[in-house]
């Protein structure tokens, strides 16, 4: 796992499924256990009947052809649903000056990859993209076809508007509050408290919420020196600052904001993982999943 895929290379690949598979397969290699198999809807394979197996599971048609007992195996259906909630507000369009892709593009590919992994595990996968301008909802499903439905949704969405206020989301809330995992991919930039309100609403006792915060290099390092005019992607507000003089203030403000965010989400039992979109995606994913695994093991 030492060698990760350079984000520039990945960004040049315009094929989202390919990117997702590339990242996921590389990631899976060696660390992912094989699929759990058992009773289910999706056929997986035949195996020879062994004593103890439910006789009702014997495939009699196959017995007629081969004169041997075979048992149909299907992938076990996951008990939990994984909801991918995609923040499509305009601020997601931010990108580093020298960056390979914007936060939004990164998020799309990341989601495609995560969905691929989830589908591969046989989980129920649902998708919800959120912005004040449009919302796309995909009911939970399993299998490759569900993954392709997710991909289609990912292709359709565009960044724009703001993160919607909770009242606008009432119709989707009930569906998100089923037992399962909600992965919220966002930059966690909010003008008031809308993301917090959303998380607070979604996070219940039998429902886990994981936050994936996407930030870019320029946001983290503030590499500006001269006079720079910052313009907000969502509100259009501009602020003219002297880069060098403002760096310290900005970094302090950024750290304080981050600290506040982590603590407030921690109160809701939401773990926040910060991902730098200018770093290799598989590396970020490995770190994210590794942290999740450790948490689940603990």
């Amino acid at each position: 796992m030492e060698r990760f895929i350079d984000p520039r290379t990945l960004a040049r690949v315009r094929d989202m499924p390919l990117v997702a598979r590339t990242v996921a397969d590389g990631f899976m290699h060696g660390i992912q256990p094989s699929h759990q198999r058992g009773v289910g809807i999706e056929f997986s394979q035949y195996r020879a009947y062994e004593p103890g197996d439910d006789p009702s599971r014997i495939d009699w048609k196959l017995y007629a052809r081969s004169d041997r007992y075979f048992v149909r195996e299907a992938e076990r259906e996951s008990e939990i649903a994984i909801w991918f909630v995609f923040d499509c507000s305009a601020s997601m369009a931010q990108r580093s000056d020298q960056g390979a892709w914007s936060r939004f593009d990164y998020a799309r590919h990341l989601l495609a990859t995560l969905a691929y992994l989830a589908v591969g595990q046989g989980d129920l996968v649902g998708f919800l993209s959120l912005s004040s301008e449009e919302r796309h909802f995909l009911p939970p499903g399993t299998g490759d076809r569900q993954w392709h439905r997710v991909l289609r949704e990912l292709h359709r969405v565009q960044p724009g508007g703001r993160f919607p206020d909770t009242p606008q989301l009432e119709s989707h809330m009930a569906r998100l509050q089923v037992p399962g995992l909600v992965i919220l991919v966002s930059d966690f930039h909010q003008s008031a408290d809308e993301i917090h309100a959303f998380v607070r609403r979604v996070s219940t006792t039998h429902n886990e919420v994981a936050g994936l915060q996407l930030l870019c290099d320029d946001e983290l390092a503030f590499p500006y020196d001269g006079p720079t005019r910052f313009e907000d992607l969502e509100t259009g507000e501009t602020v003219l600052v002297s880069g060098r003089a403002a760096r310290e203030g900005y970094l302090a403000a950024q750290a304080a904001y981050q600290d506040r965010l982590v603590r407030s989400l921690g109160l809701l039992d939401v773990r926040l993982d910060t991902v730098n979109v200018d770093q290799p995606m598989d590396q970020a994913m490995y770190a994210f999943l590794e942290r999740r695994r450790k948490r689940l093991d603990a």
């Binding site: 601020s91 997601m92 369009a93 931010q94 000056d97 936060r103 930059d187 930039h189 320029d218 946001e219 590499p223 500006y224 020196d225 001269g226 006079p227 720079t228 005019r229 910052f230 313009e231 907000d232 992607l233 969502e234 509100t235 507000e237 501009t238 602020v239 003219l240 600052v241 002297s242 880069g243 060098r244 003089a245 403002a246 760096r247 310290e248 203030g249 900005y250 302090a252 403000a253 950024q254 904001y257």
Partner: protein, 428 residues
């Protein structure tokens, strides 16, 4: 005190270019690089010092650019420093030649004392320019050095505020022949000691018509004044055209070489064949003719040197500034016959109206030999003070162009560095 001068003040017009960066600065203040961000609140908190630095840098850049253009304008205007040091008051220079020749001659001592008293400071015109303090004439510098070069160098490096007087040996013609332009006006006190030659006397007969009595009176008075300055014996007679030959000859008893008879013909008709005269001079006024301004320069000027003979038309002795003949010599044995191709006499516009024309005329009438004898008395004659005007704009100065260029290069580098700095930083 080193004063700065502008050799080409018109170059200051280039200062108008200062308006360009000023206007650019006022009308298109940089709004900074545009960066799209997701959370403006963070940047809002950091903007306490948002305006000061960009503005300061902008003003600094503006000042640099203005200074750059101002320096360029000064370069065009030819900014220069005046001489290394300044000598206030009048200055006297004494050439070693002069002192060597002076010996114990009382006239020289007197001249030196008078000049020294008139000047605020005095120096030997010799390497090192030691101070000349004593009029008892003990030269501490060797004679024979090239005083002229020394003087030119001195004038080019030291700024003299008052009059510059030089006590030198030589006659005026010798100086005129080798005189390059000096950077400023210098008053020469020349003396040519040597065996005291007998002074010539001159007898001028002015032949005139009633219409030209005025001209004759002017010429006569001018010649008398010029001759008296040189302590020459002069006799001027005026006669009408029909009676001039009846005028008896002058006093006798002097050797022919020292008595010069001149006939100045201001009457009508051709020059008469006056065999008794040493020189015959006539004029031909051309009232209608267009005149080229003829300038009689500082006496003795190079324009009085003889010009090459024009074939078939006598020998042109004087020319005006345009090169046209002013004085033509006719070949006629020993007798010198001249025709002045303008009007002798009252002629404010012509050569004859100029202040030094009498000297030139007297020299012409005397001839070079007698003139040399007469100039031996130059030492005491204030009219021999030769003041050569300086070449225009050649005041002693040291050009500052290299320094200006260096300063411009430095400012330009600083300006580039300052203006490129933000872009470099952002590109990181």
């Amino acid at each position: 005190m080193n004063l700065l001068v502008l050799l080409t003040p018109l170059g200051l017009l280039a200062m108008a270019a200062l308006a360009v960066p000023l206007l650019i600065h006022l009308f298109s203040r940089s709004r900074g690089r545009r960066v799209l961000v997701g959370n403006i609140a963070l940047y809002r908190q950091a903007r306490r010092q948002r305006v000061t630095e960009p503005r300061l840098v902008q003003w600094l850049l503006l000042a640099l650019r203005l200074a750059l253009l101002a320096l360029a304008a000064l370069l065009l205007a030819g900014l220069a420093r005046q001489g290394l040091e300044t000598l206030p008051g009048d200055t006297l220079y004494v050439t070693p030649d002069w002192a060597a020749r002076a010996g114990d001659d009382g006239a020289f001592v007197t001249q030196a004392e008078e000049s020294l008293a008139a000047a605020d400071q005095a120096f030997w015109l010799a390497p090192g320019y030691p101070t000349f303090t004593d009029a008892t004439l003990s030269p501490n510098a060797s004679a024979g050095t090239d005083s002229w070069t020394g003087l030119a160098e001195r004038l080019a490096t030291v700024r003299h505020e008052g009059q510059v007087t030089v006590l030198a040996v030589g006659d005026a013609a010798a100086f005129a022949a080798r005189a390059p332009a000096l950077p400023r006006e210098v008053r020469w006190l020349l003396s040519e000691p040597g065996p005291a030659a007998p002074l010539p006397s001159i007898e001028v007969t002015l032949v005139t018509t009633p219409q030209r009595h005025g001209d004759a009176a002017v010429i006569g008075a001018a010649l008398q004044a010029a001759a008296h300055h040189r302590a020459l014996d002069i006799a001027v007679r005026t006669a009408t055209q029909d009676r001039w030959q009846a005028i008896p000859g002058g006093s006798t008893g002097q050797e022919p070489g020292h008595r010069i008879r001149a006939l100045v013909w201001l009457a009508d008709g051709d020059l008469p064949d006056a065999a008794a005269m040493d020189i015959v001079l006539g004029d031909s006024p051309r009232p209608g003719a267009r005149r080229t301004p003829a300038v009689l320069p500082d006496y003795p000027g190079a324009r009085f040197l003889a010009a090459p003979a024009a074939p078939g038309n006598g020998r042109v002795t004087w020319r005006d500034d345009a090169g046209a003949a002013l004085l033509v010599r006719d070949a006629n044995g020993d007798q010198r016959r001249y025709r002045y191709l303008d009007r002798l006499g009252v002629d404010p516009d012509g050569l004859a109206g100029q202040a030094s024309f009498p000297d030139a005329l007297l020299r012409l009438l005397l001839g070079e030999t007698a003139w040399s004898a007469a100039t031996a008395h130059a030492a005491a004659d204030p009219s021999f003070a030769v003041a050569r005007p300086g070449a225009a704009g050649a005041l002693p100065h040291r050009p500052l162009a290299p320094w200006l260029a260096l300063a411009m290069a430095l400012l330009f580098g600083l300006e580039r560095w300052l203006s490129e700095r933000p872009r470099r930083g952002a590109a990181r």
